[in-house]
Structures are given as C-alpha cells and as structure tokens.
C-alpha cells in the first residue's frame, strides 16, 4: 500500500507540474496585463512614461518570458511563497485565508444537510420501491438534479427576496453588521446564507439520494438480505443494519471526490449572491489579470482534486478488503 501511495504521489507531482505550466502559459498570454488593467483604473490622462512602465513590469517580474517567469514561480512555491496579489497588494495566502471561511460555511453546511437528508430519502425510496409516491418522489428528485443551480438561484431570489421580501437578496452580512450583538451577527449571517446553501444542497441531495437508492437496489437482491428477512428481522433492521452498511463503500469514494468542491466554491453561485468566497476571488482575479492569485488558486484546486482522487482510492481499499492497491 505504501509503495502504491508513493507512486501515486510521484505521478501526482508530474500532473501538478503540467497543470500549473499550462495554466501559467495560458494566463500570461491573455490580452491585457495587470499593469494595463491597473492603469486604466487610474486617471486616463495620467499616462506614464515608458521607463516607469518598464520599471513596474520589472517589479512584477513581467519583463521575462512566461516560461522563465514560471520557473521563478515554481521556485517561490517550493519555498512556501505564493507571491503577492497584484491588484490587492496583499499576499495570496492571506487572501485565500480570508475567503476560505465564507466558502466553507456554505459548502460544509450544505454537505451536512445533504447527508442528513439524502440517507433517509434514499432508504425510504428503497423501502417503498415501486409505489406511486416513490416514483413521483424519484422523478421530482431527478428534475431537481437537472435544475441548473444558477437558474435556481435566480428563481429563489425572485421568489423569496424580491416578491416576498423574507430573505436578503445578496451579500453575506447586512450593512449594519458591525453594530449588531454577537447573537444578531450570527443570525444575520444565517439569514444571508439560507438561499446560497439551498442552491448548493438541492442538486447534490438529489444526486446522493439517487445514488444511495441505486446501490441499495443492488444490495437488497443479495442472498444475505433474503436470509436476514427469512430469519424474521424487521424491515428497518434489515435495511439499516444489513443492507445500508454494505452500500457505504461507494459512498466513501464520493466523499473523496467532494473534497475539492468543498474549498473551491461555486463561481457562479457566489457571483449571483455576491458571496465573498473562493469562487468569487477566482472570478475577480481572472478579470483583473491577477496572475499570482489565479496561479495560487489553480494550484490549490489541483492539489485538492488529486488528493481527493488518491483519498478515494485509498479509502476504497481500506473499507473493502477485497480491493488491493497494486501497480496496475
């Protein structure tokens, strides 16, 4: 197992280098540079001299060709330095630290909700398989699964924020946040997060409960379930203790694969709700041509994706003794 993990880590490192190299090359070849973006925001009459321009380029390390600059970036990353954001003049690490909280707030609460709701839903669907309610429920869940989250976000905003006025339209906190009591602050964030959390949850809820139902359907045809029923166990005990436990293995793989989405956030949902999270940071940094931030986030997402895949494979071997990790 250890040699397998080491081998996978080695391959992952190569993949990582390739990804960052490609993205670095792409973003450095985008039209416009952070310098021009910044200047256009200043007074347009204040055109700077060619010397100043070159001085700025040099201080940002943009005077070198991109593949050389990539080498510099890698060297800095290996020393634990992700660089400073061009547009925000702050270290990328600190920017990420600020934005990761709001994203985690949404993704973790949505993940918990998903598990809390989808397991009972999936089990009920199995218990009632074939009945009218179950079919209707499954069809509705399937429709929810196909419902694009950004359309849902707009519909929810329209209904609950604009028409009914029950919930805030966007943002994470109200304007008077600082003057609120500690309890008021918590409830303020809670009300603001309701709609985004719903948008995050409903799709994965539909996906997970369908997933659980599909796996359960396979398991309850097994002989040991028939044995359990035959020896007189109640339906709840059969479903929960005998069947559901054996569907946990595929669920474990899913957990590994959700790891990157926990931190990456959703660009479009955060954009719609102007939620100050990671997705929005990425969106803004692309617009501002903020190379260090784009690279820092790309690196983080790719590491998480690869780690998630590795985790899924390793967990799979841990929970299922029949699976052996070998070199192909």
């Amino acid at each position: 197992m250890l040699s397998y993990i080491v081998r996978r880590l080695g391959i992952g490192l190569i993949t990582l280098t390739l990804i960052t190299f490609i993205i670095y090359g792409l973003i450095r070849n985008m039209p416009g540079s952070p310098v021009t973006q910044e200047l256009s925001q200043l007074d347009p009459g204040k055109a700077i001299s060619q010397e100043d321009y070159e001085r700025i380029l040099k201080s940002y390390g943009l005077d070198k060709p991109w593949y050389v600059a990539y080498g510099v970036w890698v060297k800095n990353v290996l020393q634990g330095d992700l660089g400073r954001s061009f547009s925000r003049k702050r270290p990328v690490t600190r920017l990420v630290m600020e934005r990761v909280g709001p994203t985690l707030l949404l993704s973790v609460s949505s993940l918990l909700l998903t598990y809390l709701l989808s397991i009972p839903l999936g089990l009920i669907a199995t218990a009632r398989a074939g009945t009218i309610e179950e079919r209707t429920g499954s069809t509705i869940l399937y429709m929810l699964y196909s419902f694009p989250s950004f359309v849902a976000a707009l519909f929810l905003q329209l209904q609950f924020a604009v028409r009914m006025g029950w919930l805030p339209l966007f943002g994470m906190v109200s304007d008077n946040y600082d003057s609120l009591s500690p309890f008021g602050k918590v409830s303020d964030v809670f009300w603001h997060s309701l709609l985004p959390v719903t948008c995050y949850t409903y799709g994965s809820l539909a996906y997970y409960s369908r997933f659980i139902r599909a796996n359960m359907q396979e398991v309850i045809r097994q002989d040991y379930i028939r044995t359990a029923r035959a020896k007189g166990l109640g339906p709840v005990r059969v479903l929960w203790h005998h069947a559901f436990r054996n569907t946990l293995i595929p669920l474990v793989t899913l957990i590994g694969l959700t790891l990157p989405t926990l931190l990456s956030g959703s660009i479009i949902i955060e954009q719609i709700f102007t939620w100050p999270g990671m997705g929005r940071l990425f969106f803004e940094s692309i617009r501002e041509r903020d190379y260090p931030t784009i690279m820092g986030l790309t690196l983080m997402f790719s590491v998480l994706t690869l780690a998630g895949q590795l985790l899924a494979d390793v967990l799979y071997a841990v929970v299922d003794p029949r699976v052996r990790l070998e070199d192909k």
């Binding site: 792409l26 196909s146 359309v151 707009l154 479009i268």
Partner: protein, 379 residues
C-alpha cells in the same frame, strides 16, 4: 460502467453469455440498435424528452418563421423572395431590398413601393435583435421598455430593458442552444474517441502518455480552463465558445472509449481480423468502434446537457459572445440587473432547465436501453 457480459459480435448483434454453449441460434433476431430503440421507446419520460428535443430542433430550424420582422415569403415586383432567411446569415438578405432602401422595415416599404405585393409573415411580429417601433406594423404600438414590458398579447414573454421581445430572443436563442450542444459535443466526441481508441488499442507507453493527458485535463476545473481559454481570444464568438467547450469536455468520453477498447480488443473477432491482415486503423474504427459506440453515446448525451449549461452560464457571467446574441444565458443576466423584470428570469430559466433535463433524460433512457446488465434485469 458496463458489465462484462457486453459481448457483441462484429455485426452488432447481442450474443449469449460467453461461456455458455450455444444451443440454438434464433434465426434473424432483431439488431442491437433496433432492440435498443424498442427498449428506449417504452420509457415514457425518455420518450417525452426525445419528443421535446425534436420540437426544440424544429423551433430552432423554423425560428425565422416563428418570430421575426422579415416576411417568410414575399412577392415583390413580380418575383418571390425569402427575406426571413437573413436571420440565419445576414448576407442572405436579398440585395433588392437593400437597393430599394427598405432599411429592414418591411411592412410599410412593401406597401409603398409595390402596392401589388403580398407577404406571409412570421407568427409573432417581433425582432430578436431590436425593438419594434410604433407603427412599424400598421396600427401596432411600439414595444414597451423596462418595467412596462410585461408579457402581453403582442409580446408573449414580455420585453427586455431595451424593448426587444423576449419570445423572439428565446426562439432565435434555441438555435444557439441546439448548435452549442451538437457542435461542441461533436468536437468533444471526435477528440475523446480518437484519444480513447489510441490509448485502449495500443496500450503500453501510448496508453500511459494519453492517460496522463486525460488526467491533466480532468484535474483542471472546467470553468477555470474555459475562462482562461476564452480570455485569450480577443473577439469571442459563439463558434469560439463551442470549440472551447468541445476541447475541454472530452475526458469522460475518452476514458469510456479506452475502457471499452481495452475490453474488446481481447475478443476473438479482433484476433481473427488481425490474423487476416487487417490494419490497426481499420480494426479500431471498423471493428471495435461500432461495438463500443453504445456505452460511449451515453456520456455524449449527458455532455450535450452540460454543454448547454456551460454556454448559458458563461453568457450569464458575461463571458459569452458579445451582443446582439440572443443566448438564453444573456437574457438571464439582463434579468439579474433588474429583478422587477421577472419575465426575463422565469422564461429563459425554464427553457434552460427543460433543455438540460431533456438531454439528461435521453441519456438515462439510452443507458438503460443499451446497458446489457440493466437489459437482462428486466428482460
């Protein structure tokens, strides 16, 4: 995903399980695809979705006849013209109307310049690119703008901020949705099938190399890669978007093709073909691909849904083709700038949802109709 029982001989007919002795061969059993179609047809939801997609395609093809300000057929100065075709390609507008200074205003000009003329008009007299002015059509008021543009008998789905009819934009936008789905997935399937076929058939270092490439593309978050690629292009058009979506969405197709080829190339009919001297290219595309096609079609169908989704979300974020571009996502983003105009969110949003749902349902139906494991379960 598919079972090991997926044993199909090169003629594309399902064979009995490999080990069992073949006792009796039923003469002329229905072909694989005919059988799959029969199984697909009995699934009501998938069939409804299929009908919906066909309808959508018809709307897209006949969009200039459904909504527009140019006549479908016109008899002008003794000759027949089809000015509505200009909605497909601006250069198809018959030159005579430019010479006669119509300036894209047909109803009045036709009457003034040739009282003898007659014309067949689209169902809804509205233009997807501009506001219809007052008296442009005799007796018809101009399109309302901003909050006055509620759905009405003249503007079925309302009008946007500038007074452009939403229904017309959606009808013409269905062309984009349809094209994006098929063109980008066409590109993705071509790349995915070729990469997967090469990796699966040759194995060895070719496989190692291509698998690494697949992994790299797979690990870059889709939206990140697409945004980075889009940012490089100076003037983004809808064709660029299709190419980019196609160039980034091929990994699942490649992985599936590879897995199918790895499995299929062990079969006796491949060894037989090789022994008779058939070349590798011919084996890959004439012998293996037809047998691997059914499972590969499923991710392609789901891919169409996701391509439509990606295009509309990019247009929504403002990264799409520049206006005038009647994409459904562009309409949604116009709705977001003023929530009072609920019709700008509800109608295009529903259209995107239905299109995505339809392709997902078709994909689902296809999967259950062609996957032998599921077939055996109900057969």
């Amino acid at each position: 995903m598919t079972g090991e029982e997926n044993v199909i001989d090169p003629q594309g007919e399902p064979a009995p399980t490999p080990a069992g002795p073949q006792l009796a061969v039923i003469p002329k059993s229905p072909g694989f695809w005919k059988e799959a179609w029969r199984r697909f047809r009995i699934r009501k939801l998938s069939m409804t979705a299929f009908v919906f997609v066909v309808l959508l395609a018809l709307v897209a093809i006949f969009s200039p006849a459904i909504a527009g300000t140019k006549p479908i057929v016109v008899k002008y100065k003794g000759r027949l013209y089809f000015p509505a075709m200009a909605y497909f390609n601006a250069s198809w507008e018959n030159p005579i109307f430019t010479q006669d200074k119509f300036r894209k205003r047909y109803p009045k000009n036709l009457e003034e310049k040739d009282p003898e003329s007659w014309a067949i008009w689209p169902l809804s007299f509205n233009d997807p690119y501009r506001r219809v002015q007052e008296e442009e059509w005799p007796g018809r008021p101009g399109n309302p703008t901003q909050v006055d543009g509620k759905p009405s008998s003249l503007n079925w789905f309302g009008t946007d901020q500038r007074g452009v009819d939403v229904f017309a934009q959606m009808v013409h936008g269905s062309r984009i949705a349809l094209l994006v789905g098929f063109v980008s997935m066409g590109i993705a399937s071509a790349i995915g099938i070729i990469v997967g076929a090469l990796a699966g058939y040759f194995g060895g270092w070719v496989d190692t190399l291509l698998s690494r490439v697949i992994e790299v593309v797979l690990c870059i978050p889709t939206l990140v890669l697409i945004l980075a690629l889009l940012a490089i292009i100076e003037q983004v058009t809808i064709w660029h978007m299709m190419a980019i979506i196609g160039a980034t969405r091929w990994t699942s197709i490649a992985r599936l093709t590879r897995a199918e080829f790895l499995k299929l190339k062990q079969m006796d009919f491949v060894s037989a073909a090789r022994a008779t001297g058939v070349g590798p290219i011919r084996i890959m595309f004439r012998y293996l691909l037809p047998n691997a096609l059914a499972p590969v079609l499923v991710p392609i169908t789901f891919g169409i849904a996701s391509a439509i989704l990606i295009e509309s979300s990019l247009s929504f974020l403002g990264f799409g083709a520049p206006p005038p571009n009647p994409s459904w996502g562009t309409l949604l983003s116009a709705g977001r700038s003023n929530y009072q105009l609920w019709w700008l969110i509800v109608f295009p949003g529903t259209a995107i949802f239905l299109a995505v749902l339809a392709y997902n349902l078709i994909g689902e139906g296809l999967q259950e109709a062609t996957d032998p494991r599921l077939r055996d379960a109900d057969g």
